[in-house]
Symmetry: C2
Subunit: 137 residues, 2 copies
DNA sequence: ATAAAACCTCTAGCTACTAGAGCTTCAAGG
DNA sequence: CCTTGAAGCTCTAGTAGCTAGAGGTTTTAT
């Protein structure tokens, strides 16, 4: 049995976050001791690790919720889990693509590659006038 | 003079968002016509374009607010604008780095590269047990 | 016995919007 | 001039995923 503090320490999930997960139903309500403090089982620790791990990988709470539901069905469909993960990978790739573009554009703006003089504050100029941008974004 | 609808159309910023920007002070309160409807000037259109562009590049409202303040000071410091942009580029790069790691890890989990059998639902397994991960994340 | 650390609940705040209700004003056609 | 539909108005509440703070109780260690 773990106190919420121990659980937090073991998983790296902050205490208020654990209580928040409980509130939104991502974690089940744990048992309580005589003083009304939460006591967690090993299974609950594992559940929280799962959540933490998935969050670290960028999955939304909704997706994690789905995964947990799949996990709890003894005849759970791996294909469905696969689909969720693939969708998230796709999502991650889209974000990557966008970020790469942004990085490029920011780099260009900062290095005032398109200007002649140094001190015209090309940063503000470029931001004001979209036509000064090299590419769509 | 532009109505809020025209402004929205020209900049690509949604009407409720424009009103939101006004509420938080990012856009100044515009003039009104006799029927109490907002009328925007060319300068206000440019301001909104600036904001839109900066948001598209991923800058936070707070940073944009800072940039606008710099912009409004006639003796504005380009160095300060540079600093804000650089900080944001740094930020973007950090995110990129993290996303790249996530993508790699997701790909690995999905292709169950580490498992032998196909149908153990390695996705859920791996998520439950961090030790099955290849790298830190 | 006492003091500090850990726990409890509850509310409100954060970012950056978005949606909806219920109302008023504007612009164009008849 | 009147009507009708589009566009505008304000206000509140909701979204994701937490985080912070107030004000109280329980546990733990000395």
């Amino acid at each position: 049995m773990f106190s919420i503090g121990k659980l937090s320490h073991r998983t790296g999930v902050k205490i208020p976050t654990i209580r928040y997960y409980e509130k939104i139903g991502l974690m089940d309500e744990p048992g309580r001791n005589f003083g009304n403090q939460r006591r967690y089982t090993q299974a609950e620790l594992e559940r929280l690790s799962f959540i933490k791990h998935a969050r670290d990988l960028g999955l939304s709470i909704a997706s994690i919720s789905d995964l947990i539901r799949l996990h709890e069905h003894p005849d759970h469909s791996c294909a469905a889990a696969h689909t969720i993960a693939e969708a998230h990978l796709e999502n991650t790739r889209r974000k990557l693509k966008k970020l790469r573009k942004l990085e490029k554009e920011l780099k260009r703006i900062i290095s005032h590659a398109h200007g002649d003089r140094i001190n015209d504050c090309t940063i503000i100029q470029t931001l004001t006038d979209h036509r000064l941008c090299s590419s769509e974004h």
